[in-house]
Subunit: 354 residues, 2 copies
């Protein structure tokens, strides 16, 4: 039976890169026997402006019940004036599907992409496991005496043992499966003594179940410093929602920018459940509709999606082809080429077809 | 009347770098007519291990009433096993003295120190205004059902209009005084809709009072990406306690490491009040007692302290001399030299004496 893949192109450059990613998926379907059915969703700013729809319950339900993966482009459009509709969709997927592990590989595919002196692609190769269903993103809190001189505004960083532990376990499982020697916890337990004491304690408890892996602790501030000095010691980093957000954008900088960063959000303990796949970049309104967007992040994301479907060899194949695209300058301007989005797609499809 | 400067060497490499910083202060006192009295405090891990003293009320009171500045080395010692004593002192000073603006210049003094390809010292020159008395650092929160599978751990990010506004004002005032064309707010208002909506709203309100300065908004994740790609557009960044912590460690990476980063914590609206001056680095236990610590961060911090005392020309002079130390390799190993802490101090003092 074919597996249902929902495509959500979204806003800005989203539709352009997802169009190319769709071609890749169709190629796998038509020529490589990957048995999928594509279901394109009309959600995002256009739809919202048209009829105020954000993330309808019937769509959410069908995704939860029938889909194996969602491929999301990007959300955010200045015409709307706020991000409520985007959050409805994005957090509706991440939280609603309980996709607790946001997996973001930070892997430089060419020396040229690494912005650091004396460091090359071999030094930038780690994976961030970002907790994706709680932390500060629950948006619990409020504003009191709003608009007065006495205003107080609070957001709570909310962490549960269940949420923290399953994310940490996912990181260690990945480390074990990939032969990593270390897992780093990045936290701020020296200042956030309640929330991150839980992370710290849980991390070293879970680590005991993986005696072959060395658990290491790093404060988030120090981690950001180390990453610009020498990222080579890092293999797997587990961290909370907010720090994962920050460190993976920094990581994108180390691998050539947001045009090179893919991600998967999984309910990691059950590989049969639906997963969400997104390039890390946003909708980049100034680039939209100009054939300038780098489709490589979405190709790498498709690689992660195919891995999720059980086609394990494809991610490495796609990575190798992207690496060649960079090397041969068959790429967009942001990574030193001169091609447009479509031309990069044409080249990539052509190579993949061989 | 002479001004009272409290010296708090602290732990690890703290005493070594503060010893050199003290020599600089003594030189200014003895040869340049800077009328100061030095008061060395016996606080930190040694004292705590001896008699459990952390931050006595009489010391805190004398600092608040009589001191003009505190120069702190670093706190943290593995022998103690936790950081409670260190937090008592550090947060006792920052919070207790209401030093709401933690000012951290990120300025590379030599091209060689910048870890980025195609970027030099001229591209790394901005100042971070980090809110220093609230945010997640208030450590409000708790743990419920601790140690059970149902555990919940919370830290609250607490922001007041007063606290947010005065920090933002401090950033704009600094920008005005230094002819900066822009001030950036770094927040995560797209996820922290209560706490950072206040920051966002307050920022653009305050900005109206400074029509010559362009207020710009950047999400913290994007900022960390931009900083490794091209830090040159940034002049003044205002941000909350946690993001300021993260972004200034990243910034330290851009200026040659923690051995090159100084900081001042001020009650910025009243320059006559006591200020806290700290190199950004920690106590670095593995380096302690080995004559390896880079004293330049503490010299730059002394420059900020002298500026606070009204000796405005000295910071530039100290910066220039540190820059020469880097250029002529009269520096420690972390910044490419071969000298020890003491030898760097000797050279620096010799030059300053000319
Ligand atoms: C758009 C924003 C809410 C989102 C996040 O913070 O998670 C984005 O930055 C990301 O990393 O996917
Ligand atoms: C030691 C730690 C609590 C401190 C902080 O987070 O403020 C340090 O990282 C700093 O930046 O001064």
């Amino acid at each position: 039976m074919s597996e249902l893949i929902a495509l959500l192109p979204g806003d800005g450059i989203g539709p352009e890169v997802i169009h190319q990613a769709r071609r890749v998926l169709e190629l796998y379907r038509d020529k490589a026997g990957v048995d999928i059915e594509l279901w394109e969703l009309d959600l995002g700013a256009e739809r919202y402006l048209r009829d105020k729809t954000t993330f309808p319950k019937d769509v959410a339900d069908r995704i939860a019940k029938e889909a194996r993966a969602v491929l999301l482009g990007a959300l955010g459009d200045p015409r709307v004036g706020n991000l409520d509709y985007a959050r409805d969709i994005l957090f509706g997927l991440r939280f609603g599907l309980d996709l607790y592990a946001n997996i973001r590989p930070v892997k430089a595919l060419d020396d040229r992409l690494v912005p650091l002196k004396n460091r090359g692609a071999k030094d930038v190769d780690f994976v961030v496991f970002r907790e994706n269903t709680e932390g500060i993103y629950v948006n619990v809190g409020g504003q009191f005496k709003r608009g007065t001189a006495d205003e107080i505004a609070i957001n709570e960083d909310l962490n549960t043992r269940k949420g923290v532990e399953r994310l940490i376990v996912a990181g260690f499982e990945y480390a074990r499966a990939h032969g990593a020697k270390t897992v780093h916890l990045a936290d701020k337990s020296n200042a956030m003594q309640h929330a991150h004491e839980l992370w710290y304690r849980c991390f070293f408890e879970v680590a005991k179940r993986y005696p072959e892996i060395k658990p290491q602790h790093v404060f988030i501030d120090a981690l950001c410093l180390y990453l610009v000095q020498d990222p080579s010691p890092f293999e797997v980093i587990v961290t909370n929602n907010l720090f994962g957000d920050i460190v993976t954008d920094l990581g994108a900088g180390l691998q050539g920018g947001l045009g090179m960063a893919g991600s998967a959000s999984l309910h990691a303990s059950d590989p049969k459940r639906v997963g969400l796949f997104e390039p890390v970049h946003g909708s980049a309104p100034p680039l939209a509709g100009k054939d300038l967007a780098n489709p490589f992040a979405s190709f790498l994301t498709v690689g992660m999606l195919l891995e999720h479907l059980g086609h394990k060899a494809e991610l490495a194949r796609i990575e190798a082809l992207v690496a060649r695209g960079i090397q041969e300058r068959r790429c967009t301007r942001d990574v030193g080429g001169e091609l447009g989005t479509r031309a990069v797609g044409d080249w990539f499809l052509g190579e993949l077809r061989r």
